[in-house]
């Protein structure tokens, strides 16, 4: 089992969720984060609006999906497709991390392992 953590633009969450649905992945969760990558931040006003500051941390969303090992690549492909803002991809489109998961448990039934995902 693997956990796939995709950090994407907040406005791309909906497309990502739909892309995953299209490949049969239903279970997932989403967290609001702020993040920094190579993308430069935005300039925002401080105080009374007379000075600005560069905010390097931008709002992002983290979509987490735990899937069977076999599904990892198609999930990554689906996320990339849905998270890119244009066909070539732009800085700030996000990042995906894959990490190991030992076990999953469904609280309602107590099922464990792949069948619990």
């Amino acid at each position: 089992m693997k956990k796939i953590e995709a950090i994407v633009r907040p406005e791309r969450v909906q497309p990502v969720v739909e892309a995953l649905e299209a490949i049969g992945i239903l279970g997932l969760n989403v967290t609001q984060v702020t993040g920094r990558g190579r993308q430069k931040g935005v300039t925002v006003h401080t105080g009374r609006g007379v000075e600005t500051t560069q905010v390097n941390m931008l709002p992002k969303a983290r979509v987490e999906v735990v899937v069977a090992d076999a599904d990892v690549d198609k999930v990554i492909a689906a996320v990339i497709r849905a998270a890119r803002t244009n066909s070539k991809g732009a800085v700030g489109d996000g990042k995906i991390f894959v990490s190991p998961v030992n076990d999953a448990v469904r609280v309602s039934t107590g099922e464990r392992g792949d069948s619990a995902i």
């Binding site: 925002v44 006003h45 401080t46 105080g47 009374r48 609006g49 007379v50 000075e51 600005t52 500051t53």
Partner: protein, 411 residues
């Protein structure tokens, strides 16, 4: 003695309510500008002023400010509001109005509430609540009451001199602005803040500005103490100056930092409202446009350059209320026209009025700064008091540290 006029009374009653409402409005204006961990402490500075000042005013504040007294301070004639009748009209030391004396005193109370609340923007995010309560009592007694007496009592020396201050440019705004400087200086800079506090809730800032704009109609047009031509003119010019200054600030922030700031628009409106305050009964709509334009620009740049100073006047009380108030007081001397309020200013050939206004400005600035400074210094030195919270409390935020509450919880 004039009869009580029901129309005048109706309007000043409504105005008193409007001015009281400005203080919660200010609480949101300031509360939105600070960081989320200090939202309640910032709001509380304003809210508790409604409680403390109301009590002080009734017990002795009004009497010190408006009791006939001397040139410099009132007396104890109205201690505990004795003699402050609701049956008879207001007539003290040669000033009168066709409304009950008690209504005049109540209307004035609302000004006394908001003035120290304005100061709190200077020391937000680090001032001790306990010390603040004592500061409120002392400041109303030793700073606000005397200055109000100078300017608005028929016996006051600035009144006698002919200094014009329709609704509080000196008494409220310059006064608050100078005390703010003293307080920000003595309490010291906030920790870990290098000009980069981003307001935690901008809609609250706009809500506050909206309430302030709304309430300011009571502040200025109510100061006519009647529902007459003067009130109407004050109403119109108040709106005009606020609008012009909001527009000016928005355009300046657009020009200088590429994007028109919503907080800037709100700040500009407040700057315009401040500046028109002393002038509201004396200038017409064209004067108000000029005053608004000046307020929007001067306060904008004051905020801009203030942030380069060492003094951490956190929410720019001096740059808005101090500078706006000075500009307004002087502009009253420039743009006053007898057609509106019976007095001519510089543009109508009476340059002397500017001089009189400058005396009023200077006297208020000096007195307010010095006495506020002394009060705060003394409070700082008293063991167990002191102005500033501990570093730990400041870091974790005053809301939980001082008030045991959080602004927002996810529950």
């Amino acid at each position: 003695m004039p009869e009580i006029d029901a129309g005048a009374t109706a309007w000043v009653l409504a105005s008193s309510a409007l001015v009281l409402f400005m203080t919660p409005g200010l609480a949101f204006f300031y509360g939105g500008l600070v960081r989320g961990k200090n939202v309640l402490s910032t709001i509380m500075y304003s809210f508790i002023a409604m409680a403390v000042v109301s009590v002080v005013w009734i017990l002795w504040g009004y009497s010190l400010a408006f009791g006939p007294g001397s040139k410099f301070i009132g007396n104890l004639d109205f201690l505990g509001f004795t003699g402050v009748d609701s049956g008879g009209t207001f007539e003290v030391a040669g000033v009168s109005a066709p409304i009950p004396h008690a209504l005049f005193a109540t209307f004035q109370l609302m000004f006394a509430i908001i003035t120290p609340a304005l100061i709190t923007g200077a020391f937000a995010e680090r001032f001790k609540f306990s010390t603040y309560l004592i500061f409120l009592v002392l400041w109303i007694t030793f700073v606000y009451a005397p200055i109000a007496h100078w300017v608005w009592s028929g016996n006051g020396w600035l009144f006698g001199l002919g200094a014009l201050d329709f609704a509080g440019g000196t008494v409220v705004h310059i006064n608050a602005g100078m005390a703010a400087i003293a307080a920000a200086w003595l309490v010291g800079r906030r920790r870990n803040v290098e000009h980069v506090v981003v307001p935690h809730n901008v809609p609250f800032v706009i809500l506050g500005a909206g309430i302030l704009w709304f309430g300011w109609f009571g502040f200025n047009a109510g100061s006519a103490l009647n529902a007459n031509a003067s009130a109407v003119n004050a109403f119109l010019v108040t709106n005009t100056a606020a609008a012009m200054a909001a527009l000016t600030w928005t355009l300046l922030s657009w020009w200088q930092s590429k994007k028109p700031s919503a907080v800037g628009a709100a700040s500009g409106a407040v700057a315009g409202l401040v500046a028109i305050t002393p002038a509201a009964g004396f200038v017409g709509p064209m004067g108000a446009l000029a005053i608004g334009l000046g307020a929007g620009s001067l306060c904008y740049f004051a905020v801009r350059y203030r942030s380069r100073l060492k003094i951490d006047d956190a929410l720019d009380v001096f740059a808005i209320h101090g500078v706006g108030g000075m500009w307004g007081a002087i502009a009253t001397g420039i743009f006053a026209a007898a057609a509106f309020g019976g007095f001519d200013g510089l543009i109508n050939g009476n340059g002397k009025q500017v001089v009189t206004q400058l005396i009023g400005v200077g006297a208020t600035m000096g007195y307010s700064f010095i006495v506020s400074f002394i009060i705060l210094k003394v409070l700082d030195l008293i063991p167990g008091l002191g102005l500033r919270v501990s570093d730990k409390d400041e870091d974790s935020g005053l809301d939980t540290a001082l008030h045991g509450e959080q602004g927002y919880t996810n529950n």
